[in-house]
């Protein structure tokens, strides 16, 4: 089943002549792990934020499981779509448990059900529930905060997860761990993941298919293997060449 479909999505921000997005079309199947790769300003975050209506397209359509998201109430829509951002965005005045339990609480789940869900999610993201549920965000490391951010986004069991450079501000070792964990979590849940990054290694490692974007355009959308073998555009070629050069640099050093 098609989870997300973009049809000729365009966006131009007021005060800017350039397109943030120029006629982007793509179709994503349920259960895929899609990474969106591009440098800053290429429109990848804009595309992501349109998927949960934090931004509205100027023209074009976005369908979620066959339904036009423009027809849905934005708040309802967002409750069915998990959202994780680089700055984490945990509520600093609330404990881990209260953070993860925020939406369930607002939806009037009873307390026991929330506690069970928090335990479940903390276990899923690899944090011992009893050690962490009572802590405040400021008492956590960056990596732990991002795990909580993931748990928070998963609280209502959304079918689609949007992740906007979630590991962008995290050190290399923790980052590798988190990437592996994210793959494990994705594999176990059968959800559709849409993951924005500017790191080509991260994009090709995580995504079963990769969207490569530049200057508001979707240049290529294919499996990592196909992209490497048949780059569709000079920009993609340059991107791959630069990644290869980095690799040879490492080989020369060791």
């Amino acid at each position: 089943m098609t989870a997300i479909e973009y049809r000729k999505v365009c966006k131009q921000f007021t005060g800017s002549r350039a397109y943030a997005l120029q006629s982007v079309s793509a179709s994503i199947e349920e259960g895929e792990f899609i990474t969106i790769l591009g440098s800053s300003g290429c429109g990848k975050t804009t595309l992501l934020k349109m998927t949960n209506r934090l931004y509205e397209p100027d023209s074009g359509e976005i369908l979620l499981f066959g339904e036009h998201i423009g027809d849905k109430d934005p708040v309802e829509l967002r409750r069915g779509v998990g959202y994780v951002i680089q700055q984490v965005g945990l509520f600093p005045h609330l404990t881990v448990e209260e953070n993860i339990g925020m939406m369930p609480g607002l939806l009037k789940w009873d307390r026991e059900r929330i506690a069970v869900r928090v335990t479940e999610l903390l276990t899923l993201v690899g944090l011992e529930p009893e050690r962490f549920r009572g802590r405040y965000p400021s008492q956590l490391s960056g990596g732990q905060q991002q795990r909580i951010g993931l748990a928070l986004a998963l609280a209502l069991d959304p079918k689609v997860m949007l992740l906007d450079e979630p590991f962008g501000a995290i050190d290399a070792i923790t980052r590798l761990n988190l990437q592996n964990e994210l793959l494990r979590i994705h594999g176990g849940l059968g959800k559709t993941f849409l993951f924005v990054t500017h790191d080509i290694n991260e994009a090709f490692k995580l995504g079963n298919r990769v969207m490569i974007m530049n200057e508001g355009r979707l240049l290529q959308f294919d499996t990592p293997k196909n992209i490497v073998q048949r780059p569709a555009d000079p920009f993609v070629e340059t991107l791959i060449r630069s990644a290869r050069e980095q690799e040879t640099f490492w080989e020369a050093v060791t």
Partner: protein
């Protein structure tokens, strides 16, 4: 001075109570009004700017002049005093409420919106709790300013400690002058200190 207090305690206690009442009524009205203005203007930068401009002009009018302007409309007495004092507070309160709420980290607000909280829920569950210190500091400022400007309200028959002060001045009664100024200054200083203490406590939790 002590002699005056023991002989006419009601002449000092009554103005003090009157003053506190004036401040309390003004404060309740001010907060209700500013809450409405803040909600209305928080996400409308142009309206917010216009409101700030207008209120800062009102704030810069000398209190006596503002009292005088309103006397033909609402007459002498407490009603006029409360209106003027509430009007002054709007500038102080709106400014601190608006900046307080806007200073809440935008990533937190965006994350809240992204997980499907309504704007109302974001305000009550996230922005207000995170801005509570700034909000409270604004209220403290408004209370102290009301206590001080409130003494001038005596000039339009609104009573309070100002009445004691003006009476004393007119009749050259030193005890009255001293009690009037001591109590109004003392009230302002002690209320300020108390609220500040509460504010610091609040920040720690």
């Amino acid at each position: 001075m002590i002699d005056y207090l023991t002989r006419h305690p009601e002449k000092i206690i009554n103005p003090l109570l009157q003053h506190i009442q004036l401040v309390a009524v003004t404060l309740v009205l001010s907060i209700l009004l500013v809450a409405a203005l803040t909600l209305l203007s928080l996400n409308r930068p142009r309206l917010s700017n216009a409101l700030h401009q207008v209120l800062s002009v009102v704030y810069s009018i000398p209190s006596l002049a503002l009292f005088a302007v309103l006397i033909p409309v609402t007459g002498l007495g407490t009603v006029t005093a409360v209106i003027v004092l509430t009007a002054y507070n709007q500038y102080l309160l709106l400014r601190s409420f608006t900046t307080g709420l806007r200073e809440v980290e935008s990533s937190v607000v965006e994350a809240a919106r992204g997980i499907g909280m309504t704007e109302g829920q974001i305000l009550t569950r996230v922005q207000i709790p995170l801005a509570k210190r700034a909000l409270f500091a604004g209220v403290r400022l408004a209370v102290v300013s009301t206590i001080c400007i409130g003494t001038i309200a005596a000039s339009i028959n609104a009573g309070g400690l100002g009445a004691l002060l003006f009476d004393g001045l007119r009749t050259m009664n030193i005890a009255k002058i001293l009690w009037g100024s001591l109590l109004s200054a003392g009230l302002a200083i002690s209320v300020n200190a108390l609220l500040k203490l509460a504010e610091e406590r609040m920040g720690r939790t």
